[in-house]
């Protein structure tokens, strides 16, 4: 076997592979094109039929039997479910039941492959599943494919299957960050029903470090916004040593803390960690009690830039805070001036001053603010 023969064989191999790939490519494109066109037509047809049925039961066209096995029909149903509400949802649910659509997708999810079909099944069940789907969904919360796990949680949230809350929480610690974040979204969807399970989870799992699950749980509590967890979170703030946990608790307290949270937040506003100070400023503003104004005004002169900025934004949001900001605009501290100026611009005080200027009705404070704004900007 000399070099020439090897060379010729190599050429042949490469060119054959090329021809195979080329034919494969052209075939795939042709198939995809036809599929896409057919899908579009079928789906439009199904949407039209279903729309007529939803708009008026009298005008109901029969639904063809083949629709039951058609993914285009399923997609049409899902789209419509997201557009209409009220009695129409029941009509659609009736159609889903009558044709056994959910059962079919459950079977597909249970199969071991192909991935594409299983994923599509999970997505569909997340949209059209009912109480009887809950079992399958809970089973697959630990599926090996992350997207499927996300869709299962999503589905359980949509059907409000509260028994799943613990199953989902159990996975908080072992899950990868992206999936856990999507699980957290589902928790938010459960609302108040998730509150006490979350609190229990936090109590059990709080550690000196590696608290990603706990942090996520605290964030969820903040979003759900149930005031009753305020004292729990204040307790967490006291007890926890992990700064990530404390930051999360501070943020959540801004929403759920209420007046009782002001004392612990004032304490964290004096923390040596700038992140805690910065977040405390924001949370104090959210609680809305102007008694913290003078404390926040001192924050305008903090060594850390973010703390200054957040303190200014907080003052802009609190009753009476704008006055303190206007004082700061005239202060010697350049950064306090700029931070105050930005907050006043963002909250509309600047726009107000400019309007008054145009009407010729400026007061002393307006003039200070406007002078500050039109001054030379730093390079």
């Amino acid at each position: 076997m000399n070099g020439m023969t090897i060379g010729v064989i190599a050429v042949a191999v490469v060119l054959i592979v090329d021809v195979v790939l080329l034919l494969g490519l052209v075939t795939m494109k042709t198939v995809n094109r036809r599929r896409a066109q057919s899908y579009k037509l079928r789906r439009a047809g199904y949407v039209a039929t279903l729309s007529r049925r939803l708009a008026s039961s009298a005008a109901a066209d029969p639904i063809e039997a083949r629709a039951a096995a058609d993914d285009a029909f399923l997609d049409a149903v899902i789209d419509l479910r997201n557009i209409v509400t009220g009695h129409e949802i029941e009509t659609l649910a009736g159609i889903v039941d009558g044709l056994g659509l959910a059962r079919r997708q459950e079977a597909r999810l249970r199969s071991r492959f192909p991935l594409g079909r299983r994923l599509r099944a999970a997505v569909s069940l997340a949209e059209i599943g009912d109480e009887t789907t809950a079992t399958v969904l809970i089973e697959h919360l630990s599926d090996r494919e992350p997207e499927i796990r996300i869709q299962c949680a999503r589905g359980l949230g949509r059907i409000q299957h509260t028994a799943a809350i613990d199953a989902i929480l159990e996975r908080f610690d072992v899950e990868e960050p992206w999936v856990r974040a999507r699980f957290a979204d589902t928790m938010v969807g459960f609302g108040a029903k998730a509150t006490w399970p979350l609190v229990a989870y936090i109590r059990v799992n709080l550690r000196p470090r590696d608290n990603e699950g706990v942090v996520e749980a605290i964030r969820v509590l903040g979003v759900i916004g149930d005031r009753e967890v305020g004292p729990t979170l204040s307790g967490v703030l006291r007890v926890a040593s992990d700064p990530e946990v404390r930051i999360a608790a501070i943020e959540a307290l801004g929403v759920v803390g209420g007046p009782l949270a002001i004392k612990p937040l004032k304490a964290t506003f004096r923390s040596t960690d700038w992140r805690l100070r910065a977040k405390s400023a924001t949370s104090l503003a959210q609680i809305g009690d102007p008694s913290v104004n003078s404390l926040l005004a001192r924050g305008l002169e903090d060594a850390n830039w973010w703390v200054r900025r957040n303190s200014a934004a907080a003052l802009a949001a609190l009753p009476g805070g704008a006055d303190l900001l206007l004082d700061a605009v005239g202060s010697d501290d350049l950064f306090a001036r700029d931070a105050a100026g930005e907050a006043l611009a963002d909250c509309g005080a600047l726009a107000g001053a400019r309007e008054r200027e145009e009407a010729g009705l400026t007061n002393a404070e307006d003039r200070v603010l406007l002078a500050h704004m039109t001054g030379q900007v730093l390079a």
Binding site: V14, K29, N32, R33, A36, R120, P177, A181, V223, D338
Partner: protein
């Protein structure tokens, strides 16, 4: 005797090319494994739920703008409805002379403000800052001209959020691009410092009001060649590099950067012709030298569309610029090349960048000279030559076909016309067009006064691209 030497040198260059194509095929296969997931997500994943999530990290979209008055308003408007829960837009007016600033101020009702602007990265002087509060918070930094890198640095300085998406004013963002990119960050928030996106040529597509209506393959050969090029890079190379965590380049047209990391290395290098590659490699070097855990990845589903040069003239300027940027980077990062300290970046991807991107035109040029010379001196066996050329051509075609097959995950370009255009291009691209780009790059290496540095790309204003006359 001379003929023999020339012959072997000539063979050497052909073997070099076959090795290069083999490397790319290897990357392509590795990328295919990565793209399999993208394929499923593109078709079935519903990303819209993330849009109401309160827990996603906020992002500042940073846009440098120099004389973009034609399309900047439509562009910003379409960016402002990208799918993402929390973000702001920061535009740097880099000393435009065509009324870019005025157009922005008027369209978005911006007011001039003073805000604490911290020059973490030094830039050209700032003239003013403007803010607006419509559906999306918009900040415009007006500054003296300093170039794209400088404008990006100013935008990063002013950005409020921990992550900055650096992009261009004439880019069309796919509505899921930011979710896709941020997913890579949320996956590993501690370590992820940059995410690169998937850039697709807009030419030949139907655009209306700053939105992509239908993707299409351009009729003209120059942009069509680039469609294949971009597919080979973004579908068949970068996913593999990213999986090795050795991505040497996060493109300037779409990169999500961790602000603190960028500031720590001093931001984009002003005046550098390849500022995106330079920053990416500096980040690698900084983190490896200081033993800071990190990763820089690429997200194939973060798709954006941008106009590419339509004529050889504009394309030449772009390629000369790129190659000179590459030259500077090769010089700057020579100590990293083939240096095991720098892991896969030094030993594989940057080494390949040096060997196959930078050296390629030189070696190909040597081939052009030595092979014909060897032939005329009678030293060349025609059959051997044909065999080697056929393998090189076949392997090159293979790479393009792999890229086109990977592109099937997205479902664009399925019409008969598009398919035919792509196939034809894959077959003919090695007969002429590529050789021209090699000539330009040789020219770039030699340097010379005629090679202008920053040409004006004639912009149509992306928002108003009609259907290309077919």
């Amino acid at each position: 005797m001379i003929g023999e030497i020339l012959l072997w040198v000539g063979y050497g260059t052909l073997v070099y090319f076959i090795v290069m194509q083999a490397y790319m095929i290897g990357l392509g296969l590795r990328s295919a494994a990565v793209m399999r997931r993208v394929h499923h997500l593109e078709r079935f994943g519903r990303v819209s739920e993330m849009l109401s999530s309160q827990t996603s990290p906020p992002v500042s979209i940073v846009i440098p703008a120099y004389n973009e008055a034609a399309g900047i308003v439509d562009s910003v408007r379409s960016m402002s409805i990208v799918g993402y829960p929390r973000f702001e837009i920061v535009i740097t007016n880099d000393g435009s002379s065509d009324g870019t600033l005025e157009a922005l101020v008027e369209a978005f009702h911006l007011e001039r403000v003073r805000i604490p602007y911290r020059p973490d990265i030094p830039t050209a002087p700032i003239r003013g800052i403007y803010r607006g509060h419509g559906a999306v918070d918009i900040t415009v930094i007006d500054k003296e001209n300093g170039g794209r890198a400088d404008a990006l640095n100013a935008g990063i300085n002013a950005a409020r959020y921990p992550y900055a998406l650096c992009t261009d004013a004439d880019v069309i963002l796919d509505s899921n691009c930011l979710v896709g990119a941020m997913r890579r960050i949320v996956e590993d928030r501690e370590r992820t410092i940059a995410v690169g996106g998937n850039i697709r040529p807009l030419n030949g597509s139907k655009v209306q009001l700053g939105h992509l209506v239908e993707a299409g393959v351009p009729r003209k050969l120059v942009p069509r060649m680039q469609v294949l090029e971009y597919l080979r890079t973004f579908l068949a190379s970068r996913p593999a590099w990213s999986q090795m965590e050795a991505l040497p380049l996060v493109s300037g047209a779409f990169g999500v950067w961790k602000r603190s990391a960028v500031i720590a290395v001093g931001g984009f290098t002003s005046g550098h012709l390849g500022e995106d590659m330079d920053l990416t490699m500096r980040l690698h070097r900084h983190h490896i030298d200081n033993q800071i855990p990190y990763r820089i990845v690429y997200e194939p589903s973060a798709v954006i569309w941008t106009e590419v040069p339509e004529t050889l003239r504009v394309l030449r300027r772009q390629r000369v610029r790129w190659h000179r940027g590459l030259m500077t980077a090769v010089r700057d990062f020579m100590p990293m090349t083939f240096n095991p300290k720098y892991g896969k970046v030094g030993m594989v991807t940057w080494a390949a960048m040096f060997l196959f991107e930078f050296l390629a035109p030189i070696i190909e040029f040597i081939g052009w000279i030595t092979i014909p010379l060897a032939f005329f001196l009678g030293a060349l066996n025609t059959t051997s030559l044909v065999v080697l050329l056929a393998i090189a051509f076949g392997a090159g075609l293979l790479n393009s076909l792999v890229a086109l097959l990977l592109d099937e995950s997205y479902g664009y370009f399925n019409s008969r016309v598009d398919t035919a255009r792509l196939v034809v291009m894959a077959l003919i691209e090695n007969f002429g067009l590529r050789q021209v780009t090699v000539a330009w790059r040789i020219r770039a290496i030699i340097g010379g006064k005629r090679t202008r540095v920053w040409g004006n790309m004639e912009r149509k204003g992306v928002a108003n691209l009609g259907v290309e006359a077919s």
